[in-house]
Amino acid sequence: MGVSTLPHAPVGEPLSSCDDTAFRMHCRTWLAGNLPPPPNFGLPVSAIEIASDEQLTYLRNWQRAAYDAGLVGCDYPACYGGGGRTDCQAIANEELRSAGAPYLPNIVGLGMAAPAIYHHGTEAQKRRFIPGILSADEIWCQGFSEPGAGSDLANVQAFAERRDDRWVIHGHKVWTSLAQFADWMILLARTDRGHKYRGLSYFLVPIAAALGRGVEVRPLIKMTGGLGFNEVLFDGLEVGDDALLDQPGRGWSVAMTTLLHERGGGPLVTPGAGVGLAGDASQTRGPGGLPALARSCVRAGRAAADDPVIRDKIVRLLIRERGFLATEHRAGHPVLQEHPQRLQLQHKLLLSELLQDTARVACEIQGMASTLHRSHPGLVAGEWSHKYMNSYGFTIAAGTSEVQRNILGERVLGLAKSK
């Protein structure tokens, strides 16, 4: 699960600007009048934790509206349901973010399936699938991980067997976010047991329509008690060649395109605001930020904000937050960097660890109140212990922090491969 699914980057100043003022103004004007009213139920921190139909419906309607207004899929060609523009999604995202718009629910579709299909699909596949992804008519999930293939993704064992002109799929996928709502899945499966990498193929397979006919979705409960995770079992699902993305045996290459976009480094900018309505988007500002929290919590007889150790810890995080935003800015401009991939590849690692450490310090500031479950009546200081637990999802998903460090060390510093 990708960068774009991280709860949200902290909000600072807009990080880039673009010349297309008219488009920017269009986004701004439309957003000013068309943000949905906040729901009367809670929304989760990010799209991958959507747990109920009412949450999904609310967010789906929102994506549909934003799509109809031209804010989603701006950079895809019109024949695939896109806006036919260039370099405009980044503008739309900035405007979505500064308007405090809700996140988009079809996150796997937008961030992974659409770019993979766009770069590797047949004309028919692009016309068939991309419009439904952009409009959220069809929700997607990602079937990569398996019990024996996580960080070592190429070890995937799910098998697609050739029978006449069909593919028959058996296998076991885990940690599949959104599968309980998904119409489709991007599936990495083995078509040849003789080659680790060249034996992989990439499929676009139905989920909802195939339930009970070779597909079973079982919920998994996360450490937070939340839903959103699933196991997906394939027991003889049959699909045709039109389900194959790119050539048989090219699955690893398509998976790499997918992961590049998932981690925010691909040529296509993923649509989305990043910011949830739940929004304590910045740790410096607003009632949800650490300084405000520290002023309201008492520690050893005085405000936690007056404790020198706590002060130091908070300021360290504020510096990291500011550094993260400044690095994002720098990453957009070649003159401010020395190596083309060095900053892009840091994004996921920096953000997920910053959010985790922030939540940990917030719990420390809360003291005994951080022992309380977020459902505890009268809990005033927010959901930090929940966020802290949840933050591990982001340091594990989409390539763990350890794997990110391997990637950075190998691709940017040229160190020997660790595997």
Binding site: R295, L336, L349, L350, L413, L415, A416
Partner: protein, 395 residues
């Protein structure tokens, strides 16, 4: 909170001209000061009371390239370039651990720029011509409080007399002029003093860093004319405060450049040195700290560029931005230095290996103008408010 609200332009003010300056500096310095030469030049003796080495030819080249003039206003004959150009240049200076008084002179430039007196302008003109200048502003405790000084000034018959000692003066033996902070009845002021003036005595410190010098400067009844005063008593602290962010960023830039050298050099070692039949970088206990060095450097560099832009365009944000950059860089420098020695193993622990030169330069930079925890304590005042007095302790 009035922090980070101004919208930054794409290039953070880093013009083609600034990029060119940085590029040229990198090429030139790499050619002019190869590592072996630097080592030979600064590490010729292990004696901590060594003579100050000052490669005048090198300095002359630096002056001819116009580097001391980069931050001097056009009105004083300089290039008047934005701070981002200067920090780009100083990154390259740090990368080669340049043993020249450029950072110290730049810090003095920043202070002189914040003083309006004609004599400040005169000295800026001398800087363009290659005169090294340094600040004599620190007391015996190494305090960074703008009001603290162990030098007193007395006025009589149109002349000013300075008495006392400035400590931890950077490049004390190379500077030809000092900008001295001195206490009068009305508060602290700033004074220009010729290093050769009668009564000035420079006592070198035995310091760890081999790429610079530092010393104590005694003022034994040094008499200067009234126009040597560039910030009147009571106005010195303000002038220093205005220049302070630029000074913090100068040292930050030096640290970022030096750390990039540490990273690249250590990564190169990890790519080539083989143990257990594999290059060191294969092992994650080596690989991951190298990546963490890179992350820390990039954070500091991002904050550096961001703050340099603020210095020129958003003065109300400058102090916070600059302190954030210095705090980040100080901790980063400590980490990178530690790892650069550790990951080189035994060779990294030798005098002969160049990592020691950078380790020591960084160690010095880390504390100069306040280390990470010092900056964070000041930032906390601004971002979290002052610490409320504990009840009962008030009376």
């Amino acid at each position: 909170m009035p922090v980070h609200t101004a919208i930054r332009p794409d290039d953070l003010g880093f013009s083609d001209e600034a990029a060119m300056l940085k590029q040229t500096a990198r090429k030139l310095l790499a050619r002019r000061l190869p590592l072996e030469q630097l080592h030979k030049h600064v590490a010729g003796t292990i004696d901590p009371t060594r003579e100050c080495v000052f490669d005048r030819d090198l300095w002359t080249e630096v002056v001819e390239l116009g580097w001391p003039a980069v931050a001097v206003p056009k009105a004083c004959g300089g290039f008047g370039m934005p701070l981002c150009a200067m920090v780009g240049l100083l990154e390259e200076v740090g990368r080669v651990a340049l043993p020249c008084p450029l950072v110290a002179t730049f810090c003095a430039t920043a202070v002189l720029r914040s003083c309006r007196a004609p004599s400040a302008h005169e000295l800026l003109k001398k800087i363009v011509d290659g005169t090294p200048v340094s600040l004599a502003i620190t007391n015996r405790h190494g305090s960074w409080d703008h009001e603290d000084t162990d030098v007193r000034v007395r006025a009589s018959a149109g002349l000013l007399t300075l008495e006392g000692t400035a400590h931890y003066v950077q490049e004390a033996q190379k500077a030809e002029f000092f900008v001295v902070k001195a206490q009068a009845a009305e508060g602290v002021g700033l004074y220009i003093v010729d290093a050769r003036a009668p009564g000035v005595r420079i006592v070198p410190d035995a310091i760890v860093d081999l790429t610079r010098d530092q010393g104590q400067v005694d003022f034994g009844g040094v008499t200067v004319p009234a126009h040597a005063c560039i910030a009147k008593p009571g106005e010195g602290a303000k002038a220093l405060a205005a220049a302070w962010p630029a000074m913090l960023l100068a040292v930050t830039a030096d640290m970022v450049g030096a750390a990039e050298w540490q990273l690249q050099t250590t990564a190169e070692y990890a790519r080539t040195r083989v143990q257990f039949d594999r290059p060191l970088g294969f092992f994650q206990a080596v690989k991951h700290p190298l990546v963490d060095m890179m992350l820390a450097i990039d954070e500091a560099r991002s904050l550096l560029y961001d703050a340099a832009w603020a210095y020129d365009h958003a003065p109300e944000e400058t102090d916070v931005c600059a302190r954030m950059a210095k705090a980040s860089a100080s901790d980063m420098a400590a980490y990178c230095s530690g790892r650069s020695v550790q990951l080189h193993g035994g060779i990294g622990f030798t005098w002969e290996c160049a990592v020691q030169l950078y380790f020591k330069r960084q160690k010095h930079n880390e504390v100069l103008f306040g280390d990470g925890s010092f900056q964070r304590a000041v930032l906390a005042e601004q971002l979290l408010g002052p610490i409320a007095a504990v009840a009962g302790a008030e009376s």
